[in-house]
Symmetry: C2
Amino acid sequence: MTEAATGRRTRGGGGAARRAERTAISLETAKYIERNIPNFEVLTEEALEIIEANAETVLAEIGVNFVNNPAALDRWRAAGAEVEGERVRIPRGLARQLCSTAPAQYTQHARNPARNVVVGGKNLVLAPVYGPPFVHDAEKGRRYATIEDFRNFVKLGYMSKWLHHSGGTVCEPTDVPVNKRHLDMLHAHMTLSDKPFMGSVTEPSRAQDSVDMCEILFGKQFVQDNTVMTSLININSPMTFDDTMMGALEIYAANNQACVISPFIVGGAMAPVSVAGTLTQVLAEVLAGIAYSQLVRAGAPVIFGAFVTSIDMNSGAPTFGTPEASLITYGAGQLARRMGLPYRSAGSFCGSKLPDAQAAYETSNSLNMGLLSGVNFMLHACGWLEGGLVSSYEKFVMDADQLGALHHLAKGVQIDENAQAMDAIAEVGPGGHYLGCAHTQANFKTAFWRSDLFDYKPFETWSEEGARDTMALATQRVKRQLDTYQKPPLDPAIAEALEAFVAQKKASVPDAFL
Amino acid sequence: MTEAATGRRTRGGGGAARRAERTAISLETAKYIERNIPNFEVLTEEALEIIEANAETVLAEIGVNFVNNPAALDRWRAAGAEVEGERVRIPRGLARQLCSTAPAQYTQHARNPARNVVVGGKNLVLAPVYGPPFVHDAEKGRRYATIEDFRNFVKLGYMSKWLHHSGGTVCEPTDVPVNKRHLDMLHAHMTLSDKPFMGSVTEPSRAQDSVDMCEILFGKQFVQDNTVMTSLININSPMTFDDTMMGALEIYAANNQACVISPFIVGGAMAPVSVAGTLTQVLAEVLAGIAYSQLVRAGAPVIFGAFVTSIDMNSGAPTFGTPEASLITYGAGQLARRMGLPYRSAGSFCGSKLPDAQAAYETSNSLNMGLLSGVNFMLHACGWLEGGLVSSYEKFVMDADQLGALHHLAKGVQIDENAQAMDAIAEVGPGGHYLGCAHTQANFKTAFWRSDLFDYKPFETWSEEGARDTMALATQRVKRQLDTYQKPPLDPAIAEALEAFVAQKKASVPDAFL
């Protein structure tokens, strides 16, 4: 299931880079999950057909808005849609037909080829939390995130055995000007980790900067021939595609870089309060968004996204890890598979203000549901706190540890002769015990998943050691990881070129904080 | 989904009882879960057949031990098994054939008929933690459990909306003599709650006392005609059936009372370290145990049980909420359904010493797996802490709250016209919001599950109110529930008769503390 990250691509740079590589510590990262278990499906064939027909009705009769984007309206008109103002009505069947050129799976390359991920099929790729303006830790509490925090989370992600992807905006570095943040964020992913990462989507020009930096890191030709970024394009639900996000999508699709096309839904506010109604809207939005990506460039890699939560009707707060969100996520997985597309949903979702029991219940509900619903790309797989307002240091390592359990659950049940263990049952017999038997000795090292974080000690030992809760254990683990972090080696010529690009870009425009 | 508990059976007692009933507060308890979602299955047909064939091999060639129980050996001999010393070898197919007289489902009656539960089919009945010698709360910490604690947990179970069953040994009342505890425990279940409960299994005579007390509570004829207890018979895995547990089973089966027949397995110690090997042993043990129950009385109601956890190979500690335990639980559900028997597994399992994040991750893994694996009777559904050594006050109400989420998840997806919400999507349109639309107004009250415990407030409000974590919220909830608890009404004549029985039994033998 796991593989040491040993093979590394060298590109230019020569002897110094190769020497750096030889002396670096080898960090173990599990391969992305390849499921050997079925998907859990809650929709009947009849329900699927009703939802699919209703989504076509929504597109044909209600339509979607492409805001501030005349070029998009031209593309839609040329493709046969009815355009009226910014409203695009898509004849039945057209969106689905356009979606058919999107690939069923794609490889996202990392600068360390051992970290490449295949998104789609039976695979599950895990990426960390995305977007919070705040961070939280036990020592300093809740505060605005800085670029130092950002770098720390990239380091923690790099060191996590069960995280396959470095993610994108692991937190918002609010101390860096808004129009320059993306440069520092990409630089951090490219230099502090060797796992795959996401590009900027906050402006089309920043998406272009992301592509340009990738050309420095991977080489121009390599980027033209391969997918090296998966970026997050949110739809403004209900049914609104804004020019910023679409502008970034256009850049990425044109460059054959992958995008998650993702409705952003708080059920009851941005979608109906019913599961079937929400699924209808999700499908309509994804059909329109992915069809548009294929109008920009047929064959561009995309992911069927569904960020779904529900609202607490008492307070108006979004709630997480709820059964309704689970049902929607299970159902959306079925819809995505029927389109033959990779699927993104779920994550370490919770509404709690602390990484406490509430956070863990909610998160565990969502992580398990994510695995079983057939998610292929799970953003927010660790570190999410307080409805996504906060990246939590402690929760990052707690969740990342739990991701190990998903890897083992996904292995399913082996049934070969060794797994049948009939010799062991005969050897031990009624009233015996298995601890010392030959089968146990031969298999115990890989038999059971074991948390690297939780406390398994007897009560007395645990008490003597300070009666620490999970939060305290996680604080210790964060410190140990950041203290022992070592940068993965990078060709010095590439490192210099990246520095120069960032410096030149930053110098070319004044700071903007809005 | 829910129903107010209004109808109550009156038996004898007359006017005083009826007046008491009319003035009592009506407490809402959800009906047992009737699943409208599929089961999650991890074993292929081929794997199921291999495991079933291997289990027959285990029974025929290795056999099981019935310890200290000549009558059992006689029964087996008469049924066609090969008996050698205490070893019983069961010819292929015999055990499965004997199991075929066990019912696929049964009704366990409560003294309040609105609380009756149907165990089997697509139903899930939730019962609280069973067996811990210690209790824990935030204020007084960890300590030996007393009868006062026991009564408190019965009260909390009675007040929980999502708990259908009062359970059995919700904690061990260690301040009551071992040979008299069962009387006080049964008395508490019978008088402090009106939900169904479990009988004593620690001695055949105590099982008989349980039957006798039920005859007082329900009437002699009613107990002869109906099942009023579901009791827990553990198998000493591997493959050992001791005379205490079998003695209790014999009493219950002879009286047509239900038993869970349950291997007690810490994988790696009492079963092989592999999933398939453990499932083989579980099936062999359950086949032998249930076959034996049917030898005692054909048609006696029984449940296919599987208590499964794995061992931490570093420390030897049992671990909970692990992926291997989940795979075994999913697989055992398939085996139980192929036998056409109700299935017991899962629970609020965790190894943590505190109701912290570790406890919640582990518990949530197990609760979700329990629902999806098709469990019909979930013992330990709330309150379990520290590997079952501790009944936790706070965790009891935390877990009990999460059980609400299981109820809503089990509802599955509605697909009627209202659920499709096409009018709402048309009314709101691109860029609108759903909060005020007609569909939301008509459906919001029942649309989403909402925790009664978790914090959904904005950060600022939460901070001002003391920045409480889940533990603090749970402490408050425990206090509020115990403060507002009101005894369900009981016919005074029955109450007096129960008191008299307990007093007489206690006076008839000296105290024993071992």
